[in-house]
Amino acid sequence: MIAAAVTALLSHWRRQPGQLATLILGLALATGLWSAVQAINAEARASYARAAAQLGGDAGPVLKARDGTLRLADYVALRRAGWQVSPVLEGRMRLGRETLRLVGVDGMSWPSMPGQGMTLAPADVLLPPGRLFANPETVARIGAEADLPPRIETTGLPDGVVLTDIGTAERLLNRPGALSRLLVLPDQPEGLPPLAEVAPALELTDRGRQSDAARLTDSFHLNLTAFGLLSFAVGLFIVHGTAGLAFEQRRAMFRTLRALGLPARTLTLLILTELLVLALLAGLLGLVLGYLVAAALLPDVAATLRGLYGAPVDGGLTLRPAWIASGLGMAVGGALLAGAQGVLRVARMPILSAPGLLAWSGASARARRLMALGGPALILGGLGALWLVGGLAGGFLLLGGLLLGAALLLPPLLGALLALGQTRARSVIAEWLLADLRAQLPGLSLALMALLLALATNIGVGTMVASFRLTFTGWLDQRLASELYVTTATDTEGAQLAAWLAPRADAVLPIRHAETDLAGAPARLYGIADHATYRDNWPLIDADAEVWDRVARGQGVLVNEQLARRAGLWPGAMLDLAPGWRLPVAGVYSDYGNPLGQAIVDLPALLRHNPDVPNRRFGIRIAPDRAAALAEAIRRQFDLPDDAIIEQSRLKAQSLAIFENTFVVTAALNVLTLGVAGFAILTSLLTLWTMRLPHVAPVWALGMTRRALARIEVLRSVVLAGLTALLALPLGLILAKVLLDVINVEAFGWRLPMFLFPLDWLRLFALALLAGALAAALPARRLRHLPPAALLRVFAHER
């Protein structure tokens, strides 16, 4: 009995291989995109974790100074009070060609050090010049820098990290007596005095330095996850459509099986089993797909993470059991979710009665009411979440609420629009078209929601990226005002260069900075010369009166937007730059693409407090037409390597390249999502196809040609897609606004102005219409060539 039923059920797929392929492909696509994102995230996180493990012990609780200035004396005071802590001084530093993370630790108290079987004299490591430990790739990237301490290769360190003794770090970073944080060791003696008593200016945090990389990149991964989830949701619409179609087409078979005595329970179980098997198949395929997509995208992601955040991520991908399990789980869960409606209908299907022609919309009025209520509720919930939860999570909850709420609102809104259109319709065909559209709405609404989400995301993310790009290029023009940027190998060479350039260039602007901690986080303190280049070009977003004069007099400090937002340092606030050095904030400037805090003071002021900051980078002002010749002359005179002299245009191009890189993945997922949404409409229309005939046949019989009906069929889909696109526009713009004003600020620390790109909307609108037309093309073609006998059967046969 069951074997016979199974054979009967499966025969459907033999006859409809295309449908089977669509079902599996849809689910595989959904699983694949989701899995790809998961794989990328897992790989990146594993890299961070590996890095953390390699650095050793740096994941435990950490003490930091509330005001950001942690001194050696604080460490000693804690030690003298009995607290077992270990000091770390860390900074980013240009070592050779790259800026690397220099981690200085006190080997005497540091819980674990890398290296295996190395026989090094302690004196070599602890006493000047010291030694730098790094993995072989990093050592190779540092190159042959004579100034630096000897490098020791060790495989125990993550790429991009240079470990050294804290004394060496202090010298290299030129931050005598400074500490970044204190690691609280696990083994503490009994009866310690409370921390608040010993070190009131310090605070205990649970996350070590390594999690800074995780924190910085959190937003990036959250973005990816959101996109992955969106792709998955959109993919499920396909599955829903196809599964619905398969159920609908087998309705007669189900009824026959039931009539032949197969219990409804057994039938439901059989169908569930079938769904599960298909889901597992599709899930496996999806995993393969996801793996390929992830492998293709990972190098870009790794480049982005490294370039933007300095977070080390390997370009290689490893298979993780958890990843496989989660992918299969999503596939099965998704299939059940998407097939639930069909299975339920089978379980409840009466043996005999024929369904109404509007059966799909069965409780559609009630469903519409629910949606009309649920949509605003979700949107309000999102707003509430932003208010209550706040932060990045709140921002994403708001986004989720907005998108889902708007999706739920779509069918009632479309219904209302169509009803309005119906009252205005003049021609009988238009009237029928609109009435027909309304009748079809429940069956298409899921696909349309998918389209809405895809379009709105496209508009939102597109607007965000384009606004960012526009702002960024404008900002680059301001920020990179010098025609040439030169880096010398040593301070001596730097001084020679400056002297040599003085009579040859319009101005030589030293670019000098000290690595420090500002407001409790690593930051760079720049010293600038008082020059019109800054006064005219620097991109200030908030400033006191006479901001430049105050900075030039050493009476004010400029901070970048990230630092201003994180620490609430707006003009008028006081900022501790170093012990005993406190200046009011005179202005805030935008500083995109930089995860770290930054501050600018007058160069003489910087030199008073940090006499030894390197003097190796210079911006050179010169008439643009003479820039190339001067660059060549410098190169000849100082025998500098090619990349030591960068013309403004090249630097801008490099910066833009990094920028574009950041959004490669976003763009790829954007396109994929839209494609999947188009596919969802197609499958929905195909599903509805079987139910179209009773709607179309009477109209045909009453004197319309099949050609006209086919045209209307396409028109119908285009109208729905167009209306959805129209509704997607405001939603997308709201999305963009939230991305720019909430997510960006939380994730990156900068607020961007929003620009509108109507041409992009037009393109997307056209794309939506095209998607609608393409999706309807196949059913329309079928209708056009349907033999009259097939249409006539509607009037004679029971379905």
């Binding site: 080997g107 026989t119 006493l127 004394g167 202090e170 009994e190």
Partner: protein, 346 residues
């Protein structure tokens, strides 16, 4: 795992100790050598000697608790120099390590502290005397070391003791020049063996008031062991009659080297040459996977001493960066009393 290894290789203060105590016999290039002509100068010599490679302030005390039980404590500050000078801040080549032990008849507590020199986390001043690492301290009066306050703290224990000297400083060897091998390796070595101790031990079971005898050893050198020596057995014994004895055996593949100092009840010291003292293990205990002699026969015929030494707690293993055995002992035989035993290289 690899980290541990590297700590040992890279970071150990007294890195020489890390390579086994034989490491003390490595080359002392650039460091000052003990000078037999040097006359100890107090209070200056209570303080550190950065030009020497290694140095220690080593205090042990046998204690009797108000609860009727016997205890022992150890407080040691080691100094190890990477280079023969002191410097400011992290660039100081001086490294410090503290060891604290507390022995009861059935438990043995150990703690270790490490520090760089030059930053104030650890150090010693001679005048007034003050030795510290983290919150462990041994502080003297405005002048000299006749009275000390001593404290240390570990995960499950702490102690706070006051010590008052009941006799003069004792200079070992030739006026404090103590020879360690037949090749002439030597150290500067003096002691205050006659502290009366009182104070409190904090144990997991609660505080215990204690009294007893304390013994401070001060020693510095740059190369005290010869290359063939593999470890030592060191005894500080306080006999009931008031006499005291310090004696050690350096185990050497080329023949052991022994030395002893006899301290009369009035504090007068007499150095006894190589071979005057003989020590003989009578029984070993399994400690941390090794066989460590915890019963000894000690003979000093010239002073009619023939005693058996028994560990109060055979498991007094100092599980520190470089492990060794250190604990209180009971004395029976020709003399009775209490003392401390230290054994390295097992």
């Amino acid at each position: 795992m690899n980290a541990r290894l590297l700590i040992l290789l890279l970071w150990l203060p007294c890195a020489a100790l890390a390579q086994g105590f034989a490491g003390l016999g490595t080359d002392a290039e650039g460091f000052a050598a003990p000078d037999p002509a040097y006359r100890l100068d107090f209070p200056k010599d209570h303080g550190p000697h950065p030009e020497f490679r290694i140095e220690w302030w080593y205090l042990t005390a046998t204690l009797h608790g108000a609860d009727g039980r016997d205890y022992g404590i150890q407080w040691t500050l080691f100094r190890s120099a990477l280079a023969p000078y002191e410097g400011e801040g992290w660039s100081s080549p001086q490294l410090w390590m503290g060891h604290a032990g507390l022995t009861t008849p059935d438990r043995h507590f150990v703690a270790e502290r490490r520090s760089r020199g030059g930053i104030g986390q650890a150090g010693v001043t001679g005048d007034p005397f003050r030795a510290w690492i983290d919150d462990w301290e041994m502080t003297g009066p405005p002048v000299g070391i006749d009275s000390l306050r001593l404290s240390a703290r570990g995960r499950e224990f702490s102690y706070n003791l006051t010590l008052n000297a009941d006799g003069p400083l004792v200079l070992h060897g030739d006026a404090g020049y103590s020879v360690k091998s037949r090749d002439g390796h030597a150290s500067h070595y003096y002691s205050q063996p006659a502290y009366a101790v009182a104070g409190t031990l904090d144990l997991p079971g609660g505080p215990v008031a204690v009294t007893g005898n304390g013994w401070l050893d001060r020693e510095w050198s740059s190369q005290p062991l010869s290359a063939t020596q593999s470890g030592w057995d060191w005894f500080s014994l306080t006999f009931d009659g008031g006499a005291r004895m310090m004696g050690f055996r350096l185990r050497d593949s080329a023949g052991d080297y022994t030395a002893a100092t006899w301290i009369a009840p009035d504090g007068a010291a007499e150095a006894l040459p190589d071979g005057a003292l003989t020590v003989e293990p009578l029984a070993t205990s399994g400690v941390e996977g090794r066989d460590v002699p915890t019963r000894w026969r000690v003979r000093l015929p010239s002073k009619a001493v023939e005693v058996e030494i028994d560990a109060l707690n055979p498991q007094a293993w100092m599980a520190t960066s470089f492990p060794y055995w250190e604990g209180p002992v009971r004395i029976t035989g020709s003399h009775s009393g209490k003392g401390y035993l230290e054994m390295t290289g097992y």
